[in-house]
């Protein structure tokens, strides 16, 4: 249902039925693959069974990410034409809408930097990846932040192609990622990171983030999208 809500919000924002929205959420063990990826090529199905990890496809491009309760996801939906992102260049969207998270992480003491195309890194290691789209009259940007995720499971369930690892001169996916917990050297809750990101967004963009619930239209659309798309194997596992 989380990925259905993820699609419903930008749709209702674009229709003017919901204000510009920042959403925070997390999943239990799940691999979320990009819309252009092949589940069979990217995911170790056996390891997913062993670790009870679900596989879900999102509607945006980019690479597969591993979600667990130690992972914080955020999503920003702005109506097209919003002054924060006047252009419609996807690289500019990633750069601009990652700034709030970068600022938030820095406020926590993490030396975060945006790294094109779509990563936030600390000393060359990825702590967050983003994806996004421009559609439904909306500029949409979402990312996942590794707060205290179990990187040993991540290394098992994702098949990272040899070409990707050779490019980064590291032997495994585990060695090219890090967590907020590891960077700070202490336990940190996803709530603490969420508060820092909200703070970063407010100071970076000069906006005020107010708590709220999913609108009635958003909830109805999310339920429909779950039934017709996100609960279906043909969407999640094909091609």
């Amino acid at each position: 249902m989380n990925l259905a809500v993820e699609e419903a919000i930008p749709r209702v924002v674009g229709e003017g039925k919901s204000p510009s929205t920042v959403r925070f959420w997390h999943n239990s063990n799940t691999i979320v693959i990009g819309c252009f990826q092949s589940a069979r090529l990217e995911v170790n199905m056996e390891a997913c069974k062993e670790t009870e990890t679900e596989i879900v496809r999102r509607f945006t491009g980019g690479g597969a990410v591993y979600h667990d309760s130690g992972n914080l996801n955020y999503a920003i939906s702005l109506r097209k034409g919003h002054p924060l992102v006047p252009g419609l260049n996807l690289q500019s969207v990633f750069e601009k809408l990652s700034e709030g998270s970068v600022q938030g992480l820095r406020k926590l003491g993490v030396k975060a930097e945006f790294q094109p195309v779509n990563d936030i890194q600390v000393d060359g290691k990825k702590v967050s990846g983003a994806a996004g789209s421009i559609r439904w009259n909306t500029i949409f940007h979402h990312g996942c932040i590794l707060v205290g995720s179990d990187l040993s499971i991540l290394g098992k369930v994702l098949n990272v192609p040899r070409a990707k690892l050779e490019d980064r001169h590291v032997a495994s996916v585990q060695k090219r990622v890090t967590t907020v917990r590891d960077e700070l050297g202490r336990d940190v809750s996803t709530r603490e990171v969420q508060d820092a990101i909200v703070n970063g967004i407010e100071s970076c963009y000069g906006v005020r983030v107010e708590s709220g619930d999913l609108t009635k239209e958003g909830l109805g659309l999310a339920e429909e999208l779950y039934q017709t798309k996100y609960s279906r194997l043909e969407w999640n596992l094909e091609p």
């Binding site: 252009f36 491009g61 980019g62 690479g63």
Partner: protein
């Protein structure tokens, strides 16, 4: 589509200069692409346009000039925006596909 004796299965994992991966799985018959599946961790908007590119590539000779012309036409015609992948990357990825068993 059924696989005839003349069809060859070809595949490639091509890494674009920005680090994104383009994975090609195609069927070739007498020097022509019969069908192709393009997957990977790149960005392309509108997302639905990738299916259109795959369709446009059917029955196209597996040669650089024809592929380049077609992929360029796809980008111009659809107004699609790639990120982490360019027209040139799609062409190089397809041309780098090698025969698989």
């Amino acid at each position: 589509m059924s696989t005839t004796k003349l069809e060859k299965l070809k595949s490639a994992d091509y890494k674009a200069p920005g680090g994104k991966l383009v994975r090609i799985r195609l069927k070739e018959d007498q020097g022509q692409i019969r069908s192709v599946r393009i997957t990977g961790d790149f960005f392309l908007i509108p997302e639905e346009s990738l299916g259109k590119l795959e369709k446009m590539l059917e029955d196209v000779p597996l040669r650089e000039p024809e592929l380049r012309l077609l992929v360029d036409r796809f980008f111009r015609g659809t107004g699609a925006q790639g990120l982490g992948v360019s027209s040139d990357d799609f062409v190089k990825a397809i041309l780098s596909a090698k025969e698989t068993v």
